[in-house]
Symmetry: C2
Subunit: 300 residues, 2 copies
């Protein structure tokens, strides 16, 4: 099978962990081991997140007094693609993946008039207590929102309408290459008069992965995160994990924006467009989710 | 012809300029216009520098108090590959290059016992007056060296012995793709017991470009920089530009380490290994250097 994997940025750095390179590289190695097991039997395209990483680089750039202004988010997303793509590519090779592995820098097309630019929802950077986050928001001009028990910066997350490099990505897949692309959802660009221009946003990597899965005629979309399964009645005492579900069953449920919401929406789009099967669950369970003995499986 | 272009990091940010994203993107656009003219008639592989950029990111990471220690140079080189690869890929598309354009994250193999680790020569970051540079060296544990009239940080620059992703790069070239790779010389890695591991260094991108030009059986290696030609008796009142020269003529001359030295050595290796022609000169003259009416042409 051809499987598109959406790998959570939180899989590379857990809540509350110090964003050191060594800590992230350790998580990347664990992720690579789980993905290498999948790569034995399947063609993989991997799309990783970058929420914690792009938030860190944005803070560093804002603190850099040698700059007139901080680097825009499109350039910072591209930086995270380089770094995480490097770590992931290296770790997959070290995990003895047989296919050639390549990380490609990816641009994702968005609309300049996407309503998301006026209503930021995508979490980036670390979690803070409310008072610290409010102070940071004032200093840096951030929007902030609650993420569980902490407060984080939120940035606009417009819809992905296409991937600029899709033809080359398909060429690589046809050549039997394991492709890492669409990292951090892709560097967001608008196209005006045939000219691409970066914009200040971070596209949801699950939605970009879904677009890529449709474009690549994938058999499966696998959304790997830090929870074991989708929960019915999430956040209530009645919460129960869903093993197998359908689009019509999901249509009646609500999920938090900025976390499980986009994951379910990514699966919905893929399943609806292709009739393929989507899976959501924990990174270590990747092979078990494909075998439908772990996580949540979503069908039409 | 198949041409491998080594594009100086200084072409993206000139000495003394503020390292703003907008300033660099403007230079990248000019570079893309010059390269797009070449791409009309030739297959291109582009290898860009990252000296100013990786130095900036290293300073930002060192100043980041949320980290136990600054990110290692291999990860920072990969970040610059993402950002510059993104800018360059976008600008080449905007300049109407007909071929598909892709930037790939690249690892370069070096030896753990390369003597360069004990004798740093590669300039990174901004230029400072001597007193400021000495103070920064003390604070950050840098090595420093004079670069013209300013003083800059220097880091180890081991020999490139291979490019991990070479097979996929060749696949892409065969498919007619314009490939941006080996950025910043590649993220430096050593291979131990079949496991790749990043090291604290920045490989010279001209030497990596030379390795790539040999591996890709290129017809030309074009080293583009901020000087119009190689100079005989550089730095003396007798300095004169060389239009056409040979390996034996060059063998009797000396060039500064960390700037023209590696460029000449990159050309020498390519010309010696392949019998091809190497050119050195200004970015705006790219097409004229290929036509041998500008810059310096080097033959066996």
């Amino acid at each position: 099978m051809r499987i598109v994997v959406a790998l959570g940025g939180n899989a590379l750095l857990r809540r509350g962990e110090r964003p050191d390179a060594t800590i992230q590289l350790e998580h990347v190695r664990a992720a690579a081991d789980a993905l290498a097991a999948l790569a034995k039997d399947h063609e993989l395209l991997i799309c990783h997140g970058n929420g914690p990483q792009v938030g860190l680089l944005a803070l560093e750039s804002e603190a850099d007094r040698s700059l007139t202004r901080a680097y825009p988010l499109d350039a910072l997303v591209a930086q995270t693609q380089g770094m995480i793509g490097y770590w992931l590519g290296q770790s997959l090779r070290n995990a003895r993946v047989a296919a050639p592995v390549i990380s490609v820098v990816t641009q994702v097309l968005v609309s300049a008039d996407d309503p998301a630019f006026a209503a930021p929802t995508k979490f980036v950077g670390a979690g803070y207590d409310h008072a610290t986050a409010t102070e940071l928001a004032r200093t840096h001009g951030w929007s902030i929102a609650a993420d569980g028990s902490s407060t984080r910066r939120v940035v606009p997350s417009p819809e992905p309408h296409g991937v600029v490099e899709i033809d080359t990505i398909l060429t690589l897949l046809r050549a039997g290459t394991l492709v890492i692309c669409g990292g951090g959802g892709g560097a967001p660009v608008v196209s005006e008069n045939g000219q691409l221009r970066g914009v200040e946003a971070v596209v949801d990597k699950d939605l970009t992965a879904s677009w890529l899965a449709v474009a690549a005629s994938a058999d499966r979309l696998l959304v790997l995160t830090d929870v074991a399964a989708v929960q019915r009645d999430y956040g209530t005492p009645e919460a129960t994990p869903l093993a197998h579900t359908t689009l019509s069953e999901l249509a009646g449920m609500r999920f938090p924006a900025g976390s499980m919401g986009p994951k379910i929406e990514a699966c919905r789009r893929f399943v609806e467009a292709t009739g393929g099967v989507a899976g959501v669950g924990g990174l270590a369970d990747a092979a078990a989710i494909v075998a439908e003995i772990a996580g949540t499986t979503i069908r039409r």
